[in-house]
């Protein structure tokens, strides 16, 4: 009897292991196939001319230069607003505020913001930045909408990074007569910098790949923007329009490849920084 039970358990164990292996294979195999397929179809059409020339005939011919500039400008505006605000908010939450109801309320707000669907950010950006503040369809409207979207991520990443700074550092600085703010600027933030940078890079990748939030705030103009009040078209929006209007699948593959490589590179850098940080912490 007991022997039979044991054999049954062993078979179950083997079956489970098989299933678990299979799940990993299916997931990462599947996702790998997706990326591989897009790069395989697209990379052949990516060259310097594609990257540096303007689209012609709605994107059927030519390149994606204005979309690259537009993406850069949108992400630049978003980071310029969301990173300082996120860092300051996180410094307040970790170094100044006493834990309690108020801090919980702010965390609740931050988590809610992180869960808001991107299209709702788009609606808000349209009603607030485009119409109410009168910024029109522009890099400014789109960038500020993206800033709202990535703000919770910069706050959370900075909080995590600051919490990982050892307590003695602060105490040493304070005991030398430094004020709290001096301690934050000279001691805490420099030590937390790699962690903050990781969060900023992940937020950058998120902003660069976003479509729905900027579709009705930044516009879809094919011209290279010359000012922050110009409408623009980012890479994901260009890809979306190429596909949904059936303009050119060849150009769509190429645009998708550029977008994927861009985002992967940014995220890889973030992962690399994280590794360095973890190694540093283990070393100490």
């Amino acid at each position: 009897m007991r022997g039979g039970l044991r054999v049954g358990l062993r078979i179950e164990e083997i079956l489970v292991r098989g299933f678990l292996h299979l799940s990993v294979l299916v997931i990462f195999g599947g996702l790998g196939v997706i990326l591989g397929y897009i790069l395989y179809q697209g990379l052949g059409h990516v060259n310097l001319e594609f990257l540096l020339s303007s689209p012609k005939d709605m994107g059927r011919e030519g390149g994606i230069f204005p979309a690259i500039i537009g993406t850069g400008a949108l992400v630049g505006v978003a980071l310029a607003v969301a990173v300082p605000m996120g860092v300051f908010a996180a410094v307040f939450l970790t170094e100044y505020a006493r834990p309690g109801r108020f801090v919980r309320l702010i965390h609740y707000g931050v988590d809610t913001l992180a869960g808001v669907p991107s299209i709702v950010f788009g609606l808000f950006g349209f009603a607030f930045f485009v119409i109410f503040l009168g910024f029109g369809w522009s890099i400014l409207s789109g960038g500020l909408t993206l800033a709202c979207m990535i703000l919770p991520y910069t706050i959370k990443a900075t909080e995590e990074a600051i919490k990982a700074v050892p307590r003695d550092y602060r105490e040493a600085s304070l005991s030398l007569g430094a004020t709290r703010w001096q301690t934050v600027v000279r001691v805490v933030l420099p030590v937390a910098a790699p962690g903050i940078l990781t969060g900023v890079l992940l937020a950058l990748g998120k902003a660069a790949g976003e479509t729905a939030a900027i579709l009705y705030t930044a516009g879809t103009s094919l011209h290279a923007p010359t000012s922050i009040m110009d409408p623009t078209r980012s890479l994901p929006i260009h890809l979306f329009i190429l596909v949904s209007e059936g303009i050119s699948f060849e150009k769509a593959y190429a645009t998708a490849s550029v977008l994927v490589i861009l985002v992967l590179m940014v995220n890889l850098l973030a992962v690399y920084l994280m590794r360095i940080m973890v190694a540093k912490q283990r070393g100490k």
Partner: protein, 284 residues
């Protein structure tokens, strides 16, 4: 010294302001979306929620088919991704060799960063034709939407579940093994129940992500504003409805789209509140 103290105070107030700004953004989003959407919600009320006909040009706004569409697509995605994602998390946390788990963790992060239009594009060029050729129908369908969404929420599902399983105290596992349980019995009867609240959080966050996803679903779902009767039928989600129609909507039509935004916000706030009510840690 006094000026220095004032300086510190001003800095503290400024930091407080940044932290409050994050919460304020949530309020602003809620206020602006609600302000635009309220006239429709108050005038049509239940007719808006449960109306089965969406004919904006005739002034008939019933979003029930879209609510059902969002519900089907989200649950389709969860049915596909929860079991397999959980299996993958169990494998990574419990069975995988260390080097493998450490290689896969950053990969999960990288995959989470792939823009949604890229998933949508893959859906259009590979998944939709595949479904059309092998299962029949138009290809743009509930099935396609669910599969694309499932792929997109897998990184969230795996990442949070793995953290939850890893944070189960070691002693639980050792106690179970010492009593003669097999590894799988320990996982099934001890580890997973102990990680319950973290696993619930993983499912809830995945659910929110799936329900709020816009572009990828829009590209593969077919967007017919009718309740699907089979998994091969096209459908339209609330988010896709907004993204599709904002470009040409005006007047009450625009307000009806903002009212859909209000519904989405309510879902997010509901899910987030649910997460706050979950017990934070299990065990002692």
């Amino acid at each position: 010294m006094i000026s220095r103290r004032w300086y510190e105070r001003i800095v503290e107030k400024f930091l407080l302001g940044s932290a409050v700004a994050a919460v304020l953004t949530v309020f602003l989003i809620g206020a602006f979306v609600l302000f635009e959407g309220f006239p429709i919600l108050s005038a049509h009320g239940l007719g808006f929620l449960f109306g089965r006909e969406w004919a904006p040009l005739q002034g008939v706004f019933g979003v029930f088919p879209m609510i059902v569409g969002t519900f089907y697509a989200t649950f389709g995605a969860l049915i596909l991704s929860v079991p397999i994602g959980l299996a993958c998390a169990v494998y990574l946390a419990e069975y995988a060799p260390r080097w493998f788990a450490e290689m896969i963790r950053p990969a999960v992060l990288l995959l989470a960063g792939i823009p949604s239009v890229v998933y949508g594009f893959f859906g259009v060029v590979v998944l939709v034709p595949f479904i059309m050729n092998h299962f029949g129908g138009w290809g743009f369908s509930l099935l396609a939407a669910s599969v694309v969404l499932a792929l997109m929420i897998l990184p969230t599902m795996i990442g949070i579940s793995e953290d939850a399983i890893r944070s189960v105290p070691r002693s639980y596992k050792e106690g179970s093994l010492a009593l003669g349980a097999t590894h799988w019995q320990t996982v099934k009867k001890v580890m997973l129940p102990a990680a319950r609240s973290g696993l619930t959080a993983a499912v809830v966050l995945s659910l929110g992500k799936a329900a709020g996803e816009t572009m990828a679903v829009l590209m593969v779902a077919g967007n017919v504003a009718a309740i699907p009767t089979s998994i091969l039928d096209p459908l339209r989600t609330l988010t896709a409805n907004v993204a599709l129609e904002m470009s040409y909507a005006f007047g009450d039509h625009t307000r009806a789209l903002f009212a859909s935004g209000v519904l989405l916000l309510l879902v997010v706030i509901g899910l987030n509140t649910l997460l706050y009510l979950l017990p934070k840690r299990t065990g002692t």
